[in-house]
Symmetry: C2
């Protein structure tokens, strides 16, 4: 109906991923996970200059964006990259930056 809707689905998806990556703390977490397969929230709270509730919110955002996933490993939660979406993001950025 709206012929002014020129924004593509790819652009929306990339914006969604990019937005999730738009905070230093979240970039830190993503880079860590992309390199070491998994980690626990507690590991991060020790290293990072934020309290656990704030970290929890950042992790939730990354999860909502689909970039990471959490697996219960009581009483902890193991976080890893969501490989499927990670790959999609990878492809999108690759195509976007023409690399």
């Amino acid at each position: 109906m709206n012929n002014k809707d020129v924004i593509t689905e790819k652009q929306r998806k990339m914006a969604r991923y990019a937005k999730a990556m738009g905070h230093p703390i979240r970039m830190y977490v993503l880079e860590l996970l992309s390199k070491q397969s998994c980690c626990y929230s507690g590991d991060l709270t020790e290293e990072l200059p934020i309290v656990k509730s704030t970290l929890s919110q950042h992790l939730k955002e990354l999860k909502d964006a689909g970039l990471i996933q959490g697996e219960i490993e009581a009483p902890k939660i193991k976080y890893c990259i969501d490989k499927e979406n990670w790959k999609e993001a990878q492809e999108l950025f690759k195509e976007f930056f023409d690399i």
Copy 2:
């Protein structure tokens, strides 16, 4: 230098670029400019479902993030990719996604 600051300069820079890319309108503009070298604000207002003042704000954000630059060509303003920073972003994302 704060030695408790585990967040790297690269992570901060990427977060800054990612944040600027974190909106569909801005992704649209960036993709357009990455493909056609330049455009005018008026061209965009016609295509996009937002008013010119809103577009102006988005362009300002892209400019502040360093991803685009504007050149006065009275009475218009010609927008292009900021090639130097674009290249930096390219490298950062490339390294980050390991591509």
